[in-house]
Amino acid sequence: MERVPILKIGSTLLVSIQVDLQDQSVQQLQEDVAERIAATGAKGVIIDITAVEIVDSFIGRMLSMIGSMSRLFDAQTVLVGMRPAVAITLVELGLTLDGVQTALNTEKGLRLLSGGP
C-alpha cells in the first residue's frame, strides 16, 4: 500500500495525491490527516486531486469524511484540481461531496482558506 504524504505550510496541510488510490491508502490518509490536524492545530486542509484519474463512490466518501472530520478539529477542507472528466462522472454517479469545499486549483484553495475573494 502506498501512503499519501502530508505537507504542512503555515497553518495549512497540503495533501497532493499522486498515486493510484487503493481503498486502504485513502483510509490511511483519513487517519493521517486527523492525526496531523490534532498534532499541529492546522486550520485548513488542501487536497489536490489534479493527478487523480477517477473518484468512485468509496474514494468520494472517504474525501467527504476527511472534510467532515477535519471540521470537528476546527479545520476547513478544500478539494482542488478536479479533472473535468472526474467531475462529470461524479455527477452521473450521484455523488455529492458533502463536508468539503472545492476550488479550481491550489492557489484559489489557499485564498479560500485565508478568507480572501
Binding site: M1, D20, L21, Q22, D23, Q24, E53, I54, V55, D56, S57, F58, G60, R61, R83, P84, A85, V86, I88, T89, E92, L93, G94, L95
Partner: protein, 131 residues
C-alpha cells in the same frame, strides 16, 4: 484478453488500469474512458468485498454497427445477492459505502447485466461503447 484476479485492494487498481488501456485503445473519449473505469472500479470492489474475491475479464469488443467498446465481466463465487431490486437501489448499502456502487456503475455504462444465484455467486457484465 485475460482474466485478472481480484483478491486484494491493489488488484482493483490493476483492473482500473487495464480497463483504461482497453477503453483508450477502443478510441473512447476521455470522459467515456473515465466513466468506464469508474464503473469497473465499483464493480471490482463489489467482487472483492461482497463476493469474497473473484476475477475480471476485460476485452475490446465491436458492435454489429462497427462501434468499438470495452466489456468487462466480473465473476465471483460469493454468497450472491438475495434481493436484486434492493441492491440496485440508490442509497441502499450493506457495507461502508454510500450505496451507489451497483446503481451508479449501471448508470455510467451502456449495457449492464447481472446474474446472481444465492449461495453460488454473482456475475456482472458491463459494456461501454465509443461514441
Amino acid at each position: 484478453m485475460e482474466d485478472l484476479p481480484i483478491r486484494a485492494g491493489d488488484d482493483v487498481v490493476r483492473v482500473r488500469q487495464q480497463v483504461r488501456a482497453v477503453a483508450a485503445a477502443a478510441g473512447m473519449s476521455l470522459i467515456d474512458q473515465t466513466k468506464a473505469v469508474t464503473a469497473a472500479s465499483e464493480l471490482a470492489r463489489n467482487t472483492l468485498v461482497h463476493g469474497g474475491g473473484g476475477a475480471a475479464r476485460i476485452e475490446k469488443v465491436t458492435s454489429a454497427a462497427g462501434r468499438a467498446g470495452v466489456r468487462v465481466a466480473f465473476e465471483d463465487s460469493g454468497p450472491g445477492i438475495t434481493d436484486l431490486d434492493l441492491a440496485l437501489t440508490d442509497g441502499w448499502s450493506t457495507g461502508t459505502g454510500m450505496g451507489l456502487g451497483l446503481s451508479g456503475a449501471r448508470r455510467l455504462v451502456d449495457e449492464f447485466s447481472l446474474t446472481t444465484e444465492p449461495g453460488s455467486g454473482t456475475t456482472v457484465v458491463m459494456t461501454k461503447w465509443a461514441r
